[in-house]
Amino acid sequence: MADVLYGVASSHVPAIGAAIDHGKEEQPYWRPLFEGYEGARKWMADTRPDVIILAYNDHASAFDLDLIPTFAIGVADKFPIADEGYGPRQIPEVIGHPELAWHLAESLILDGFDMTICNRMPVDHGLTVPLSIMYGSPEAWPVKVIPLAVNVIQYPPPTGKRCYALGQAIRRAVQSFEDNQDLRVAVFGTGGMSHQLQGERAGWVNTPFDTAFLNRLTDDPEGLTEISHVDLLREAGSEGIELVMWLIMRGALSRKVREVHRHYHVPASNTAAGLIVFEGSEANVLL
């Protein structure tokens, strides 16, 4: 049986991707950030999930103001790397898992989540930077990826509660996938942590908020779903509201999880960067 066994939440700051692409990981500015990623990379190399369902937000790449899906799932065989204005990142294209993606789309819609279904979906830093953080710079990504784009740019994004419930529905959907490969699935939630890119308040960072968020993600995720958008804007910053996507990841895991890795560092460009890795339990383990 396919199952969601792993969860990763990570910031997706474009500058982190650029630092990897341009060999800056050893520079003094970047070293403390990348040092903290080493354990997670090693865990990833040992764990090797078959598929990642990756919740991220598109930043004016695949979608623009003409079409703003709240939740969109990519069902294509592959996803090209978006040109965000610099030319596309020189990284391998992202290979999808259309069979599981279509199963997810059907199951989620019948389970009450009205997904937008996408074939043409160039993927931007929101999706690719977390892959680079976890896998470095391979010739080809050693995993299939199902992009799950979440609107967090147009106010209002989906609520934390809804995101968490979507994660739970993803878990049910994966567990009902009929295959004979026993797919081992990881769910990623990306974006955050506290940051604000815009306005006179640009550069906002709230480390006490972030620390509490990381702690509660492990122990009290349902409590986190009670945080209102206004409080997220205020406490985590206007772009920190991306943290709702971390709740999709957490909802997809078993109620009890083992936290296997955590890293938090300020700054990565304008952002407080966070990474947390969980191992969950299989469906048939009673908790």
């Binding site: 004016a60 815009q198 960072v205």
Partner: protein, 122 residues
């Protein structure tokens, strides 16, 4: 719904991209989005004024783009992920733009981030 009071209005220095903001900035943001295409970047480089003629921008929006008034673009309906496409075109970092919006130099902004970011409620 227009100009209704919002619970987030009191957050200082923050322009939430809500319905009002979207309606004000739709064309400005779509113009910025067009710079994802390398052919459009060439055209923009060849003549910004003529390039901007393709979108029904307000005179204030036009001026803000030409003068790289990053805060002005936000106030006129811009969204940072869209207006940042112009900064990418100019070869500017997010810290340079963050500094410009908050009234400090890029170096000062960078140093503030290294010191733990802005956390003074301002």
């Amino acid at each position: 719904m227009s100009s209704a009071t919002r619970e987030y209005d009191d957050i200082p220095g923050t322009y939430v991209f809500d319905a009002d903001h979207h309606r004000k900035g739709y064309h400005l943001n779509m113009m910025c989005m067009s710079l994802n295409d390398p052919k459009n970047r060439e055209k923009f480089a060849a003549g910004e004024e003529a390039y901007l003629d393709q979108w029904p921008l307000t005179p204030e929006q036009r001026k803000a783009v030409l003068e790289r008034d990053w805060l002005g673009m936000l106030q006129l309906g811009g969204n940072i992920y869209y207006t940042f496409k112009i900064a990418i075109f100019d070869g500017l970092s997010m810290q340079a733009v963050g500094g410009a919006m908050s009234g400090v130099t890029e170096a000062e902004f960078q140093q503030m981030m290294i010191n733990g970011g802005r956390n003074d409620n301002g």
